[in-house]
Symmetry: none
Subunit: 218 residues, 4 copies
DNA sequence: TATGAATGAGAGTTCATTCAT
DNA sequence: CATGAATGAACTCTCATTCAT
């Protein structure tokens, strides 16, 4: 069969105001449901119900379940990446930039833990096939941006040069991720971390993750 | 109703020598297949074929697919945890212990990347339901062991005290994980990292992850 | 409940000049699409796109997909049947009439192979249920007209009497159909039969199909 | 996903005695159900129920619905083709051979009208794409065999040479088909043709279809 | 132990049809 | 007349699990 798809309402419309309200609703519902039951653990019906729309409408806006996940990712990562770019474009040293990124990520968690949950828990899920759509690319984009920050810091003499920028970036992002996972999972601050918990974690994570990158005589 | 269960020999037998050869084969096959296609992306049939045994035999040794995954985890983490414990019991400072753990993890990756892949990519997959079997517990066990190492280091004055041990441990483990992911995914050292690549990454990851935890005047 | 239907102008209007242009477009598009993908293999959306009209407009002019197909049939067969009637009303012997019918059918194929394709390939598709709309009736009407031609020929002594008129008609129509199918499918004259091919086939089919019906001493 | 298929129990097993009983049952049920409701009008569930097996078993033996239809075709046509070959290998003139083929086809109809129904009504259903599996090939094989018969008859001087063998074969097969359709549909001999009806039709169809191919002076 | 045929609930996807604008 | 977003029933296909041998 394999007939050519139509798919009129493309990815993200140029004019954000033009994005259909229901498409938004579905996307938001997907975040909640994925966060709650996991990608494999939920049915399209769950998303539709959560969004308060008819079953078929999900397929009106998204080609299939996979693309829905991709879209969720794309949207979330886009926000994250834009923040990174904004931070990088702003004032401050590379170390401050990296710290700002960490804080931003942890801030998001405070406001939208579910979104973070999806981002964190489903990232590398994609099997071997590189067929990964935007997902991986976006993830890599984030990593590269961070690596670039590290490189700048190294060039500026703020950060130690004996660590590959990618490794440095991965270390920071990894520390970030696993601390988030720990919070998500309830290992840090209990099932519902208070604002103070998050604040405390935030400070310490930055400390722990960045300390090692600073040029320091020991 | 309480009649003797026939599925007696299912779990790992006390006497490892007594473990049926085919059970091993299935377990190994599961690691490979899970690593390749992901837990949800593979069928029991795939595992059976890979193991070279009949379909139904998988169900002779494992109650269901979930339990198979749990067993894989259990086995892998057991190795990891035992290594951590051995390291902790050995000589050296806490910092050296942590470094040794990192090196060990990266060593495993060099010898059995697939096993690591499963461990890494499927860890937090389990949804909200706390029904998580041994999987999460084992993951937490590892985290706690590391946190304990950090705590000891803090008590001994080697490691900075202004970071929660769990956060410190999570940061190290996270850096470890994401660097592994980066390698698995091909962002570090290309699709097939050479031994030297791995060696280089190993050194730098340890540096990056631990540096920040050391008490240092800046 | 008996309120005036709004879908008044659905069927073919009495005054052909009054038929909306878009209705025509849809009907033509349907012929092409049905021919290309088959009735079950295409969606209303395909027809609409092919016709260059909006999705919902199809439902403005046709009650449902079935009725659209029926309309296509009705239109095509109507042409065919009118031609048969015209031929029958004209001069010549019964044998000449039958030959003319065959030639006409093959001529249509030359000009509008797609229309023929639909007519041929979807005719008997309708399952057991006698609920068949105009489709079958129209098909039967054609068969009966031909049978009538045969009967006349028999009464006039031109055609052999030992063959049931319906069987005779079916044989001619069948020969016609399968030769058309063979051309459609590419077994006669290749994928794109030339005009000469069609001409040759035309002559021979008439010969083959009619020869046996002639009263001839052997 | 598109994972490689396994499909252990291949098409038709070499040793017919080895063909699983249930596979047979499904195939037979498919013939009945397809005949009754048409390919598109029935669900796999119908076939399974009719066969008295579980839903999933259909997919154990057949890749999908399409392949099931193909298998039905293959089996039926195979019988037909083998009969043609047997007839051709036997004694008699080409004309007698062709007549024998017609009679055979009509005989099958008497014994297994449903099978014929499927064969006839679903033949050319396949859309444009040449992706047609065995279906078309088998149909063409039959046509070619008949054309070969015609050619032999022409060489032997029994049949007129001014008709392309393929056209001649198509004409016979077409006459056959449409007369069968007429019976299937109820236009010849009513909804349930008696044995005598069939016998009468048989004789006349042969007469009508072949008469024209004989070399005869007129 | 070992096998693989058999089962059937479950979920993704399609698409005819409706309806508010 | 015209549009296309919205609806949801229907159906195919998958695959974990069972069970007779």
């Amino acid at each position: 069969m394999n007939r050519p798809r139509r798919r009129a309402p493309a990815r993200a419309p140029a004019d954000p105001a033009a994005e259909p309200e229901k498409r938004r609703a579905i996307l938001h519902a997907a975040v909640r449901v994925f966060a709650d039951k996991g990608y494999h653990g939920c049915r399209i019906a769950d998303v539709a119900r959560q969004a308060g729309v008819a079953y078929g409408l999900v397929y009106h806006y998204f080609k299939n379940k996979d693309e829905l996940l991709e879209s969720v990712f794309a949207e979330q990562w886009t926000i994250f990446i834009q923040a990174i770019q904004a931070i990088r474009a702003g004032p401050g040293t590379a170390a401050e930039h990296l710290a700002a990124v960490c804080r931003f990520a942890l801030d998001i968690f405070r406001t939208a833990p579910q979104a973070v949950r999806v981002l964190i828990l489903e990232v590398a899920r994609t099997p071997n096939q590189l067929r990964a759509g935007s997902t991986r690319q976006t993830f890599e984009a984030a990593l590269r941006l961070l690596a670039d920050m590290v490189r700048r810091g190294q060039e500026a003499g703020e950060l130690r040069r004996d660590v590959d920028p990618v490794i440095g970036a991965a270390s920071v992002l990894g520390a970030l991720e696993l601390n988030l996972t720990a919070m998500v999972v309830g290992l840090l601050g209990g099932p519902a971390p208070s604002e103070d918990d998050v604040e405390r974690v935030k400070r310490q994570v930055v400390e722990a993750a960045l300390g090692g990158l600073l040029v320091a005589r020991r």
